[in-house]
Symmetry: C2
């Protein structure tokens, strides 16, 4: 491989290595607060939506998972007391999902604990072209 | 949940949604070029290292995988004709890994195909605080 080809991949390789480190730490952090990595992302996407509530269809898009995977994820989170649903005010056939107090408490725990790692990743991404 | 708490998670939620989209597309793209997602990252980390060669120990760090997972990944990539090894010039007990021509060709294919997505992610990350 030529020196040019080496340089060509260097920034992307560094970015991916940092990203895997961040994601691994995010997963470990979620587990410390009694959440699976997917539950953490589920809670984050619900809480981070514009109104603090969202629907399964919207989660399919944001989590890049299938409808059936999201449906099961939501059901387990509901059974675990992390998420609650009620019929949407806009469309009674659809359920709005929101966090319970316990879901909110655990998400806040993970989010705060990950703060320094998020900062580190942001700084790296701003320094470095990909 | 208060309006303050909603806003607090908004940027992180958008970042994670974009990230999952990017990673999903990266995986799909790798498969189109006959690579597993992990093989793609393996080839990228080898080609993106400073000299275009690297060692299993270095890959353990960069891929955030266990020693045995990396060893197996390298072995399969070697069997698939994507990676070659030779004793390190610095330490004969260690193998230097580099891409074969076929490995280089497939990595270049994935890397070029992913270019627009990488650009999109970079633009989003620069616009948006996490």
């Amino acid at each position: 491989m030529s020196a040019t080809a080496e340089n060509r991949y260097r920034a992307a390789a560094l970015f991916r290595a940092e990203l895997r480190r961040f994601l691994r730490q995010s997963e470990d952090c979620a587990r410390r607060f009694g959440l699976t990595p997917r539950q953490h992302l589920l809670l984050l996407q619900i809480a981070g939506s514009e109104t603090g509530t969202t629907t399964v269809s919207e989660l399919v898009r944001r989590l890049a998972l299938t409808q059936s995977a999201v449906t099961e994820l939501v059901q387990r989170a509901e059974e675990a007391g992390l998420v609650a649903r009620k019929p949407s005010a806009l469309d009674g056939r659809v359920s709005d999902l929101r966090l319970t107090e316990e879901g909110d408490r655990r998400l806040a725990g993970v989010h705060d604990a990950l703060g320094p790692e998020r900062e580190r990743l942001r700084a790296l991404l701003q320094d470095e072209p990909k």
